[in-house]
Symmetry: D2
């Protein structure tokens, strides 16, 4: 990553000079101090000299970095309201286009309709650490944009530009292991979002054994900052419980003895890049790399949480329509209120078939208003073309997992040959591809409910 570092130094050098040119002398400084940040943004948009442009950009971002929360929100609103397309220019462009339907008039219209802040963001991006700061700026934006159409438009501009700047062609995949620099590793600890890493000793247990792997995507302009990473366990079968994978006392196996690669944690690191999808590409690339290095690997599968399951179940139980369950089952579900249920083998045994058939319904039948799976993790993996392979009752007994998913974990299977077809089935026909054993769980549910699912799973259709 020294290239990036070198580049940063270089940009720093140029900008400090530019800044000196721009605000030369004490009077100039005073003058600059009187300019407000929106005036500086206007100046940046109209500047033509490279060095002065970079100086203004750096000044804007420096000021921005010192804003408190309220001021930062005001700054974003200023972008929203003051740096949209120029209405008068847009009107003229429309008029011209209606008069003369030439390529030139379309281009002029396209340019006139572009919010001015897009060019503003492009120029801010050239300042030292500009990309990183704009990612932070969007973090702030995401936190406050809800329900504000103007801020929503600003976010579209960010998303459009980030989609271009974080284009997959620029991402580099790096293995993360125990020989990775410590300042990267501490970010892995910090950013792990699925199964917390308690400290350096646990980190080492996830990276150093012969049957563990980790990979991250990096971007040349976000120095030493992973964008997304995945933790992988190499095993001899598809695991059903996270505790087995993370067991401190387990005996590692040799990598070339493994038949299965388990993606057990995928974490996005940069909130400001939300919606700019890398995870999809990351998994496919890691599958390719692992397959090449370890030809013994035949199965690529996740062990994933189901963060939306308990919430859905709770809503569904309280809903008018109800779950269509019998009284006995509903009574059993009441017992979930006390987390101690998981330790009561008899009770857990009774709950297992009920919860599993409800989970099958949650994945295979229920949909959002726009026809997508309810579970966010399911949306990610199924949208990538994975298959819902297995439901694991009490796969995770941690308090968090019991609260979010009544302990449920699932495996999604990545079979490269089927990915495209699975993806298309979901995208075009709304069908979730699932293993027959998962689909079969619906049967019991159907019996209970006597109502057919509106959107059957693919395997279910095939099986019926």
């Amino acid at each position: 990553m020294s290239g990036t570092s070198f580049l940063s130094d270089m940009l720093q050098g140029i900008t400090e000079r530019g800044r000196a040119l721009f605000f030369a002398g004490p009077r100039a400084r005073d003058a600059a101090a009187e300019l407000d940040i929106s005036t500086l943004c206007d100046m940046l948009l109209s500047s033509r000299g490279e060095a002065s442009g970079m100086a203004i950009a750096a000044e804007i971002l420096d000021r921005w970095s010192r804003l408190d929360a309220g001021e930062a929100a005001d700054f974003l609103k200023m972008l929203a309201r003051g740096f949209g397309a120029d209405p008068a220019r847009l009107e003229r462009a429309i008029d011209r286009y209606r008069t003369e339907k030439s390529p030139a008039s379309v281009i002029a219209l396209h340019e006139a309709a572009e919010p001015r802040r897009q060019e503003l963001l492009r120029r801010l991006n050239l300042a030292p650490n500009g990309t990183e700061r704009l990612v932070r700026m969007r973090e702030q934006l995401l936190a406050i944009k809800a329900g504000d159409a103007d801020l929503g438009a600003v976010d579209l501009d960010f998303a459009h530009l980030f989609g271009s700047w974080f284009n997959r062609g620029f991402l580099t995949l790096q293995p993360i292991d125990w020989s990775t620099p410590a300042h990267i590793l501490e970010k892995i600890i910090r950013y792990e979002a699925v199964h917390e890493i308690a400290g350096w000793d646990e980190l080492r247990r996830r990276l150093q054994p012969s049957d563990r792997r980790c990979f991250a995507f990096f971007h040349p302009r976000l120095k030493d900052e992973p964008l997304v990473f995945v933790e992988v366990a190499l095993t001899r079968g598809v695991p059903a419980a996270i505790a087995d994978l993370l067991d401190e006392g387990r005996a590692p196996i040799a990598a070339d003895q493994a038949t299965t690669a388990v993606f057990y944690s995928i974490s996005n690191c940069q909130d400001g890049l939300r919606g700019i999808s890398f995870g999809n590409f990351l998994i496919k690339q890691v599958v390719e790399d692992l397959r090449r290095d370890l030809p013994g690997l035949k199965t690529f599968v996740t062990l994933s949480p189901v963060p939306g399951f308990a919430g859905w179940l709770s809503s569904a139980r309280r809903s008018e329509a109800g779950l269509g369950l019998g009284e006995a089952d509903m009574a059993l579900l009441e017992r979930l209120g006390d987390p101690a249920w998981a330790g009561d083998a008899t009770l857990a045994g009774a709950l297992e078939p009920v919860l599993l058939s409800l989970a099958a319904r949650y994945f295979l039948v229920e949909r959002t208003a726009t026809g997508r799976p309810l579970d966010p993790v399911a949306r990610f993996h199924l949208g990538n073309g994975a298959r819902l392979e297995r439901l694991n009752f009490l796969g995770d007994r941690s308090p968090k997992a019991l609260a979010q998913a009544h302990g449920l974990m699932v495996n999604y299977l990545y079979k490269l040959e089927d990915i495209e077809a699975n993806h298309e089935a979901l995208a075009q026909r709304g069908e979730v591809t699932a293993a027959p054993a998962v689909t079969a769980l619906l049967g019991r549910e159907k019996d209970m409910r006597r109502s057919l699912p509106a959107m059957p799973a693919r395997a279910a259709r095939a099986a019926n």
Copy 2:
């Protein structure tokens, strides 16, 4: 550059798989063979799966690379005519905007006005070697676009996208020296555009001595391809003739003895990136780097050709208005027709004042219709904020230089503190900044012509 190489391998891997998915089986192949390239482009624009998208993109570029010149032109015309904005959608967007002036309606209008080929090019860019191939595609476009408004619009799209992809933030500056890999060095030989490099021995003379430097910009997605490079001589004074710099027999000086860095050759390497400016940034960066490494360097100056001078002089002599010279001078200028004049000391001595004052006028007074300097090299350096420092009579006695510039060479001075002001003076007021000695040459010219220059040079104004 191994990162890039790794990335290429990766992209290759994924695309071959995607291609397999897409054209699986012999029948699929036959089917694909029947699809024409414009159908494939439509498919690419409508594809949603990542792997199949990359497969189609790779297929399009593979087909394109096998097109002959006529077919390639047809392909570009197809992009021009078939992949502009959708008129019906654009009309609807205009109507909506006129009804409801919301951020959403502006965005919709902006998107509707974007030529569809922009997204097409973005998707082609993700194919293996996509960026490189699109650069080659634009080379073809530049060769045929003249006078065709539709192709001109296509070129605007290329330029817009390249401006974003070749954003300075992605460029890396690399020193080029005798320890640089041979496959890069052979490109330096090939791309040198100013003073030809006759072979490896001459290359070594330009790279290896202690008083020589060379730097190039590279881009992560154009593997091992320099974008632009500059050759530098470290000297003890501002040189007046290229032969002195390139003399095989000269004794190199120690780098830390040098006071002056001379940029004597700047070559753009990629025709397809014409108009995407890097040279400006390159020079400033090299000045910064050299200054840091060699604190003894005080002066940064070019030794540059004047490729437009002889052409302008010839036109001006033949023009109605004439040059306003006396008969004796005009007779002297007749002698330029025989290149042997340069070897005739008496004749050369007589021509020197005439040519130099004409050159001063060429640089300081004459302008293009849009108010810019006539000479293309002058436009580059003066536009960067350099100062016209000295005119060197018979600075280059090569046939090419005698033909293009009657042997004239000039020095442009890069003084970082003044660059911004010089740039602004030219950009906003059309003033060329020149050393007093250059401006003074106008005096004689003025006396001869008895007419004041319309756009005086800055130094001239100061001097008067």
Copy 3:
């Protein structure tokens, strides 16, 4: 360090093949199993084929690595008794030399007198990880050699060969910082021998701040194993107490604001390399590097423990000759028995002059039987040519330091211009170079004892 890793893989590959050649088939294995390790050593010495030699070497080291402590001692004794010079051959060589005093007969004598185990160790060294394993082997040897002349001779062979293999020309200096790979950093934690590093957070505090540096020597054949490292604090003055340097709450200064580099911890990492001196070279190299990178650094100094002081003082108090102190002072010294003294300001104030003058005597006057300073750390730094700069009363209040040195720390000053002269003064005349303030402390001591030191310090001599 990938070169080393590649090399290891390569050696591994060749040896496994060689081993296959050597012990091909089940019968061969049985046969090999019956060979004892000393037979294998004989075979290795007589083998001429490269691959089979490496196979035997690997087999010997594999067997050796599985020996228990007693067996390992037997192995070393076998080397001592069975692999010395061949007496018969040596007699013949002596006879020949006495007959014919030619270069050839001297060479033959030299070869005949070389213990056969030297060549044996050279050949073992070529096995995969051979160097590392031989370092471990010498660790075992050092643990048991005391008083055994035969084992002492084996150790001389190890020391001779290690001196050649760990020749300074092969060592590479690497900065250790927070971007160093974690598997190296955990060794820094483990090997720190002076001021314990409690964990990763403390490690970061020693590496990451702008005013901290760390450097280590590595060797190409000891993969990822530091040989010796030094921790450096950049400060604005010479520190008197370790707690100030390691204070968690201190505010770091900018590196270019520092005037002083403090070497506050130097740790040898490999017990098996005891006596193969790197630390000397390490410090001088680090001084050179820091001086180049941070021209503001003017003073290079240690903050060092005095591990032998309390032991010497205790012996001296109990010795017949005594310390020549008055009763009051002797009574004060009794108080040192309770470590709480350090917290009693009055008592500490009374002890300070007594302890400091005794310390001056410990450093400047007392000597080992061979005329060297008593303190091992002093022997190292003074032997390197450093000057004893200052005695710091209660510089380290940790229990370990109170026990070993009654809390005393000292600064040794490295002034490159004087190093050679200081070194020679000690080596040739037994004189310790010390700052006048240290020498002056002797004065009080002299008054008390009324006896002149036998070997005066240099500065003292100059002062008198």
Copy 4:
């Protein structure tokens, strides 16, 4: 190789300081100028300070580098005569040993018998570029040592030390290709010793095609200097003629289509390292690496010159014993005097069986006085355990090859499984392993000579 470069800088830095210490001030310089080089050598041997030792070593090597040929020879003779073992000390050590046969007395004897120049060379080696300069020094020694027993003893010391310093464990194998730095590549051009490389274009033809490889060994202290390199062609069969391999017009094949790797040129680069064998190890390592990267490779073979064949044949024809050929054959051999014979198909056809059977005898039957193959290239490959696979009549029609070997080339086969056995057969029983087809050529020769070879080839024995 930056590590080495860094190291050089470091050593340079220290030595310049040391030199300053040593020869401080103008008077010191004058004094030093009066010391002769042998006094400096004595000083180096007795110096104890590190910096002053390095300064003296650097001074000695600087002086040495300015010596003319005669003075350099005197310097070597001084090492021979003035820096052997000290006879008095050696006598005392012998006496002590005869009195007391302890480990200590053997060690003392061993040390006393070591020529003092060994330690001198070790200390010179620590000077900047010391290793490189000592390699050059031995080059000079090899040129003059013939017949001088004292210089022969000096060479033994060089060989002993170089054997240790250039220990295989320190060598790194680097692929050489078209992306290798130019300053390394120009050394490949310069050092190629078998089939001359005419310039950069030919070099590219040997490195860049998909079916070409080149590998070199480097050493960390000989910066950017290859020690030995091998050029490899990847083919679909065992080639019989060098012209086919080097044909400019040939169509390269894909590397993964190749079945055979042909080592067609192996060049030692450093004359001063003569006798320090790397080539053996190089070939085996390259076989391993190629086999891993290109599993399609099944055959590893050389295409080698036979530099001693014509010389031997000429001697044998003139010898008393004669070749035992008939008159017709002897007359045919006369025709070899005119190199045009190779172009005369009829004549060549008649010569082929005669030359091939003589060649079989040259390889399989004839031996040096010490029982080794006559041909130096054969000694190398057969000594490595290769098998003589095929004799190629007119494999090389170049004037050099016609003069040295009547155009003969041979293939040596490297089969890793047999290498050890082949090597032992030659080393212990003097048997050359050859393919049956080669051995069969002896049959005709035997018929002609009616005398059995004294040392039959292995394959021949098996076949009979």
